[in-house]
């Protein structure tokens, strides 16, 4: 690994700080959107947590998953910590899967988001509606749960683009380009 000059270290530190501030500003923005109005809304915090988990290490992914989960619990009136546990597990898994097996590509992100958000929505339905054996509870699954899931998958495209933009300018490069290698050597 190439040694960094003090100036490069300073730039890296600043960029990382700004990047994380932006990540969390967006998380708060998504929370605000989720808690506004009465219409069915996408679970924006799920794709946001996955986006962050994909590009960062496991610990950062876990913390972000927990934060997004707590905010989801507050927004959805769920037991405080329920979604935090779920999203922490999902984010850690996503971070590991992308580190070991998958490339950071949009298609991979999309199907992973679709899977994770479906699991989150399905578990929410199971624990908060089906388990209580409400009459006609399957209507909630088709009219609310599935709707929320579809909205989440659609909105995840916009979330991905926003986070991609942030990463493009502020994410430190993992690999050197050919030009940089030539220049270094």
């Amino acid at each position: 690994m190439r040694l960094k000059t003090p100036r490069e270290k300073r730039i890296l530190y600043t960029k990382t700080t700004v990047r994380w501030i932006l990540y969390y500003v967006l998380i708060l923005l998504f929370f605000t959107i989720m808690t506004s109005g009465t219409y069915t809304k996408p679970m924006l915090l799920v794709p946001a947590a996955i986006c962050i988990a994909i590009g960062n290490d496991v610990m950062a992914a876990a913390v972000t998953g927990a934060v997004c989960g707590f905010l989801t619990d507050m927004a959805c009136g769920r037991l405080f910590g329920y979604n935090a546990v779920l999203l922490t597990v999902f984010c850690v898994a996503v971070s590991l899967v992308f580190e070991l097996y998958l490339r950071n590509k949009f298609a991979n992100y999309l199907w992973i988001t679709a899977l994770v958000s479906f699991l989150q929505c399905w578990l929410d339905y199971k624990f908060y509606f089906e388990i209580w054996d409400y009459e006609n509870d399957e209507r909630i699954f088709y009219h609310v749960t599935m709707k929320v899931w579809i909205y989440t998958v659609i909105s995840s495209v916009a979330v991905y683009l926003i986070y991609k933009l942030i990463n493009r300018f502020l994410m430190p490069k993992e690999h050197l380009t050919i030009e940089e290698v030539i220049k270094t050597s």
Binding site: T40, M43, C76, Y134, N136, D137, H143
Partner: protein
């Protein structure tokens, strides 16, 4: 000169002058109305004068702006400050108006239910995300004396109960939810007792359901359903909703009715929390009634 005075030209001029004086005297006798000739000229020249006057006024304004720029700037600044002050007063006025309206509603409810202790009007902060039963959060909490399982109402009728209370906010479960059961009775017959409990189907239409009715009930469309006060969760005689339709339960043993809540639960602005009332059950017992 003598020749000019004796000339025909002079005589013609004099005659013309006399004609003009004559016109002048005639004009005096018209009492303010224009002579027909003058009127014609006025009409014919009107568009030109209009344009010309416009140009002149514009020029004057430009000159005026240039010459009084400082004074206008000063005046503009003062007016801006004044507008700011007036806007602030308007905002204060709107806030006061809103507060007075809320308090007026509270007075009406208080007159109807003198034995109950109400909270200050609580604003609805937002609805619980994607909740099919329209649960919501209000901006009053335990620091305002609110506890879990306190009834939440509007001047129109019952809305729900508080289920989770923090220092400054509370989450409300509405009467659309199957997890909230309220003992109720028909206001007109006072004999048709039942339990108001939401269902998935009725919640889709923002309605609730009156269950466990006697099969020979006398309920009809439009009847008002009120709290019976038996459960100790809600005070007696509070409006819940009106009967929309009646029918039988799936088991065929008891009857039921779809109830349209008096309060528009999907569009709430502010609510009141009943902190205490005669016959209130202890929190622990109340909790058992609400899963």
């Amino acid at each position: 000169m003598r020749e000019f005075l004796k000339s025909t030209r002079f005589k013609v001029l004099l005659a013309f002058l006399a004609f003009l004086v004559g016109i002048m005297i005639y004009a005096v006798t018209k009492g303010g109305y224009s002579l027909s000739g003058a009127s014609f000229v006025q009409t014919a020249t009107k568009p030109f004068r209009f344009v010309s006057n416009g140009i002149s006024m514009k020029m004057e304004r430009v000159t005026d702006r240039i010459s009084h720029a400082d004074a206008y700037y000063e005046e503009n600044q003062q007016l801006k400050i004044k507008i700011g002050e007036l806007n602030k007063q308007l905002t204060d006025y709107d806030d006061l108006k809103k507060e007075v309206e809320e308090l007026r509603k509270l007075v009406v409810i208080k007159e109807q239910h003198p034995d109950e202790i109400f909270s200050q009007p609580a604003e609805v902060l937002g609805y619980v995300t994607n909740d099919p039963f329209k649960g919501f959060t209000i901006d009053k909490g335990s620091s305002d004396g609110i506890k879990p399982y306190c009834p939440v109402i509007t001047p129109e009728g019952v809305v729900g109960i508080t289920i989770e209370v923090s220092a400054t906010t509370s989450t409300v479960r509405t009467i659309l939810s199957p997890d909230l059961s309220i003992a109720a009775v028909c206001s007109s017959t006072n004999t048709d007792f039942g339990i108001v409990e939401g269902t998935v189907l009725t919640a889709e239409k923002n309605n609730t359901k009156l269950t466990h009715l006697s099969p020979d009930h006398k309920l009809k469309e439009g009847d008002l359903i009120i709290t019976s006060g038996n459960s100790g969760l809600f005070p007696k005689d509070m409006a819940i909703g009106t009967v929309k339709s009646t029918g039988f339960e799936a088991n065929g043993i008891s009857a039921c009715a779809e109830i349209e809540p008096c309060a528009d639960i999907a569009r709430l602005g502010s609510v009141f929390v009943i902190l205490d009332f005669t016959g209130k059950k202890e929190d622990a017992d109340a909790a058992k009634d609400t899963p």
